[in-house]
Symmetry: none
Subunit: 241 residues, 2 copies
Amino acid sequence: MLNDSLLPKHVQLRAALLKTIEEDLQPGAMIPSERDLTTRYDVSRATVRAAISSLVNEGRLTTVPGRGTVVTRPRVESNLHLASFTQDMRQRGHRPSTEVLSAAVVEAGEATAKALGIGAGDPVWEIERLRLADDEPMAHEVSWYPEAIVPALGDEDLSGSIYAILEATYGVVITDAQQTTWAEQAGHTYAHLLEVAETAPVMVFDRVGSSNDGPVEQTISRYRGDRYQLSMSLQRGPSAR
Amino acid sequence: MLNDSLLPKHVQLRAALLKTIEEDLQPGAMIPSERDLTTRYDVSRATVRAAISSLVNEGRLTTVPGRGTVVTRPRVESNLHLASFTQDMRQRGHRPSTEVLSAAVVEAGEATAKALGIGAGDPVWEIERLRLADDEPMAHEVSWYPEAIVPALGDEDLSGSIYAILEATYGVVITDAQQTTWAEQAGHTYAHLLEVAETAPVMVFDRVGSSNDGPVEQTISRYRGDRYQLSMSLQRGPSAR
DNA sequence: CATTCTCACTGGTACGTACCGGATCGTACC
DNA sequence: GGTACGATCCGGTACGTACCAGTGAGAATG
């Protein structure tokens, strides 16, 4: 039945099961019992269990002692992914808008230069924007992009997604980012911009976005603590000592 | 050798291995061979392999065909993972300690009951702890665990990792969690506990930890904004609209 | 002395058996 | 008609055997 090849049987069986649960079965449906599968595919139960446990481990199947093994209902998408402010707000049910505060070429500071892998003092576009949701301030953002990568960024309409401009005009696709977040008091400057008290808490994000060719963007955002929250899923990872 | 006993042997063996790789072995060191472990603990090789593969799955061990099984070198990157406070602080170079403020069985609130998949009013252990790093307050934590799962939690030493207790005593392994975070002002209660101003910003985490059998824990933590930050990597999700 | 070969040992694969406790359902008994 | 029992399914646990393909150290060879 199996043995098309050099692949271990439990790997082949795994693939076969995956195919059936994707094509023929609905979430919540039961797959054949382990003992049934042993005769169907003419393998031992240990092999069947190896295949199944691999799929259980990836969250595709769930075992229920005494009943059987069922196809897992697909999980709601993890909320933590790389999205532009615009996408993010729409997904949360808000109407996003943007106020461009400034856009100019400046010399890269030390931290920015290091983050972007360029020299300190190299020219970078500095874009400062206020982000609104339903016409109320949600976040303040300052972003830096190397001029060498996006020479004419200032000519574009910066009230929308800069990621879209990068992609359409410069063929640069930001595929992943690393960000650090912490909590601060708004303070003089941002209290005014965000229309909150000076002692109001804000969530600060320091993000470096990268394309396949390396870092492209650094952004420091300050979100109003009273209007923003972030959800994420955690797995027990390799470094979960 | 094993058989303390209500727990399956491979779970006990898993715990035993985890202890040795945490206490006696350096990253990169090899653990005894599978056949060696069968005689040491007087179990079958299948049992040994079950214990090992569970640890491999969580990234604590790595198997090398023809050579052996080695303790995984912890990676410094990927800062966003499921880790206990103790683990987290050690990784950040701090010396963690804990002050247990209270531990009692209470009736589950509505939000907690919903998160844990139990009935409102069902008995849950409520553990309130102050977490210190280098003897200074870092975070305040309140956790809830269903009494049905951990009947005698109050008898344990709660100044360390509760995850470790869950695993060692109850055979419950928290493998993943969903958490939401936002920024707040410390306020009366927490300002005093965390030794900061009432207007000082804190990062709040509302986390639900789950084992393979479902939710086990809800924890609400408040971290001092001036002492804590969170790093994470973002990928462009499947629907990168 | 350098190379090659052998061989013990590793994890990986695959088979078999056996028994347990939980779930389900039909059936026999009040 | 409702309850209790038992047969029978399920996955979970645990044991055993056997062989394979890499690895690596030491022996045999050049």
